[in-house]
């Protein structure tokens, strides 16, 4: 039987990060981008927790994961407010249409 080790967690976390990054880079919808960011954060959380379990960091990793979750909640609140403002200004939440700061 295959024992689940640190390696498996890191593979899952890397996949999760890649999906999140892909979502951030490709989604035109701002909400989609936000979802991608959440995926990236959660991949980091998974790393923290995995290293806490198999590494030498004892409980510190889990503590950081808790902080990241709280931070992600706050970030989501602010990001949604920004999205609302973008919508008010551009009548759209497509990030490639909000480009008035270009050259």
């Amino acid at each position: 039987m295959i024992t689940v080790g640190l390696y498996h967690f890191l593979v899952v976390s890397a996949l999760l990060f890649s999906f999140g990054l892909y979502a951030v880079m490709t989604r035109r919808n701002a909400i989609g981008v936000l979802l991608g960011v959440e995926l990236i954060l959660n991949s980091a959380n998974l790393n923290f927790v995995a290293f806490a379990r198999y590494g030498i960091f004892s409980m510190d990793g889990q503590l950081f994961a808790l902080f990241v979750i709280i931070l992600a909640a706050a970030e989501a609140a602010i990001a949604l407010a920004i999205v609302l403002n973008i919508f008010n200004n551009f009548r759209s939440i497509n990030v490639d249409e909000a480009d008035s700061l270009r050259y």
């Binding site: 990054l21 880079m25 981008v33 990030v95 490639d96 270009r102």
Partner: protein
């Protein structure tokens, strides 16, 4: 304050007030303000007269002297005092100045009538009176110098009064500049004494020098420097050239300033500070006086212009006074100053009266005026008799005293016999040229019928001053007449002038010894006086006789004599070429120096200035090139480079978030790859 001082201050400042009023508002006053000046000088005269009466009838004290010192500037160590010194000499001079000045004011009312600058004329007369009174009253060299310069400027203003005539304005300038030469010496003398003693006051200086503040050589030099002022102001050779030209001014001015008072200021100054002249300086003074008396008397002989004759005669008589002071005849010099002031003013007023009637100065176009101008003739005759030294008249006594002093000096110092010979000849010449003027003007046949036909006696305001002056001319030496001392009441005043004016004590033993040798020998004084008297009567008689033979009887021909002595005649006609000499040396020298200076200015100084400008322009151009190319180049270059990269790099700012994220990811990947490789 002492009453005498109070009087002096009042009589000093009244003419100044009149000057201020006349120069400012005179034109708008009734009669153009002549009465302001006239009343000021008349009040001054009445004060002077009362002081004179006090001196003569109440004090009659040879040592009478009042001094008032007033602190003007006090800067610790540096103190300048002004002040007033009144003694017998001052009062005598005050009387002469205010009296002659008053008479001239009266005379001028008619003479200057209808002149467009009538009020200014009277303003200047007042200014002159004020300045002259400063000289007379001052108790210090500083105040004297102030008055000295003020009479200079008023003289300048009055000589050039008719400045529309070039000759008048030139004469004014000539007088002023020539006087500057003398004044320069005078100023040096004043400063020499001030540096040595630390005070301008006469008494302080005399006491200081007496205490040995100056070496003998410096003392003599300072005395001669002071005397240079008198040479200029009293028109002594070689600075006499301005006085004859000064006759361009109105004739009353000539009478007041250039005959009676201002030109006598030099003599008065020498008399005032007599102890400040060392024996060496006095000898110098004596020679200057003797040479002046002789040289100018010879020039006067050949003049045709009646005023020029009188002008040279004035210079000659001033030479007599200076000579007298130089040879120790202190009293006789100042006595001649007093008598001369009256009869010379009278001569000028007479000449003015003639000129006013005839409208010409040329004596050879006059003749026979005696009948038509009796008052002018008689007063002129009295003055001529006086100046010629005819016994009984004032000039005889004073000039005789001078000749006696000179002869005494020659007895004591036989090497200096010329100091007697020259003035003796000059005395004879004086009689000759004055009677020549008298005969040509008033006797004989009228030379110009047209002039003769319209001449007339001058009005009262002109003749009255002349009559007054003629009376004074006779009366002033009345006390010298034999038997005067036996007269009741006035008999005790015989010789009052000699009683009141006496020589101040000399400073140096040398001077004292010299004065002793001159005055001390009673026998030689008596002898000298007798000899001098007979000789002066003789030369005056010869002079008058020659004038009679030449110009009245015509038994001798002036033309023949002048032809046979043509070289001397030409020399005299050209006034010994003094003007030409100055023209060739001083004036040309100054002009040459000016031209050289102008050239230096134009080439060197202007060249330096322009050169500096050129160099500055070049430097500026270089600096500008550096600015334009290097500094601006650097600045613009920075901007160009920035723009170059900016325009290219801005393309990165797409505004699309995905791009940014892609850059981020690519960047991180690059970092990782770098880390993995190196």
């Amino acid at each position: 304050m002492n009453t005498i001082i109070l009087y002096s201050l009042i009589l000093l400042f009244l003419p100044l007030a009149a000057f201020a009023i006349n120069i400012l508002v005179g034109k708008r006053l009734p009669r153009k303000g002549d009465w302001v000046s006239l009343s000021a000088i008349l009040i001054s005269f009445s004060f002077a007269l009362s002081m004179f009466a006090y001196m003569l009838f109440i004090r009659y004290d040879p040592d009478f002297s009042v001094e008032w010192r007033w602190l003007w500037i006090d800067l610790g160590d540096f103190v300048i005092e002004l002040g007033i010194l009144v003694d017998n000499l001052t009062i005598m001079m005050l009387l002469v100045v205010t009296l002659v000045s008053s008479l001239i004011h009266i005379y001028s009312i008619s003479y200057m009538k209808d002149d467009p600058r009538y009020n200014r004329y009277f303003a200047y007369l007042s200014l002159f009176s004020f300045s002259m009174l400063i000289i007379v009253l001052s108790n210090n060299l500083f105040g004297l110098y102030i008055g000295w310069e003020l009479v200079g400027i008023s003289s300048y203003l009055l000589i050039g009064f008719w400045f529309e005539k070039d000759s008048a304005s030139d004469a004014g300038k000539k007088a002023f500049i020539t006087n500057r030469v003398g004044d320069f010496g005078f100023f040096i003398g004043v400063l020499l004494f001030f540096t040595a003693v630390g005070s301008f006051n006469y008494g302080d200086i005399i006491a200081g020098v007496d205490a040995g503040a100056m070496s003998d050589g410096l003392f003599t030099a300072a005395g001669i420097a002071l005397f240079m002022g008198a040479v200029g102001k009293s028109a002594q050779v070689p600075l006499h050239i301005w006085l004859p030209d000064a006759m361009e001014g109105p004739t009353p001015v000539s009478a007041l300033i250039h005959a009676a008072t201002m030109v006598a200021a030099g003599v008065y100054m020498v008399g005032r500070i007599y102890p400040l002249f060392s024996p060496g300086a006095l000898l110098f003074i004596a020679y200057v006086g003797a040479i002046t008396a002789f040289v100018t008397a010879t020039i006067a002989v050949v003049r045709k212009d009646i005023k020029r004759v009188l002008a040279y005669s004035t210079v000659s008589q001033l030479g007599f006074m200076i000579l007298a002071l130089g040879v120790g005849g202190y009293v006789s010099g100042l006595w001649h100053l007093t008598t001369h002031a009256f009869f010379k003013a009278l001569l000028f007023l007479g000449a003015g009266s003639v000129i006013h009637a005839a409208h010409t100065n040329d004596m050879f176009r006059m003749g026979g005026f005696k009948k038509k101008m009796p008052v002018t003739f008689w007063t002129f005759l009295i003055a001529t008799l006086a100046i010629s030294g005819v016994p009984g008249f004032s000039g005889f006594f004073s000039k005789d005293a001078i000749l006696a002093s000179a002869l005494e000096f020659s007895f004591a110092h036989p090497g200096h016999i010329m100091l007697f010979i020259l003035p003796l000849i000059a005395a004879g010449l004086t009689a000759f040229y004055m009677f020549r003027a008298l005969f040509l003007t008033f006797y004989g046949e009228p030379q110009d019928k047209e002039i003769y036909s319209h001449i007339h006696e001058s009005p009262g305001s002109m003749t009255i001053p002349m009559v007054i002056l003629a009376t004074i001319t006779i009366l002033i030496t009345f006390d010298q007449w034999r038997g005067f001392e036996y007269l009741p009441l006035v008999g005790e005043y015989a010789g009052w002038f000699q009683h009141l004016i006496h020589e101040p004590a000399a400073i140096f033993t040398g001077a004292a010894a010299m004065a002793e040798s001159v005055v001390g020998h009673g026998a030689s004084e008596e002898t000298a006086h007798t000899i001098a008297m007979w000789l002066s009567i003789f030369v005056a008689g010869v002079g008058i006789l020659l004038a009679y033979l030449f110009y009245l009887k015509k038994s001798l021909s002036a033309e023949k004599v002048s032809k046979s002595l043509s070289s001397i005649y030409t020399l005299l006609r050209n006034k010994y070429y003094f003007d030409e000499f100055y023209g060739a040396t001083v004036i040309r020298g100054v002009l040459g120096l000016s031209k050289a200076s102008a050239k230096f200015d134009d080439t060197v100084i202007d060249g330096a200035v322009n050169g500096t400008a050129t160099i500055t322009i070049w430097l500026s151009k270089a600096s500008r090139w550096f600015d334009d190319h290097i500094v601006d180049g650097a600045v613009n270059g920075t901007a160009t480079v920035t723009t170059f990269f900016g325009t290219r790099l801005r393309r990165l700012q797409t505004g699309t978030v995905e791009n940014y994220v892609s850059f981020l990811v690519v960047g991180i990947l690059v970092f990782f790859i770098f880390q993995a490789i190196f």
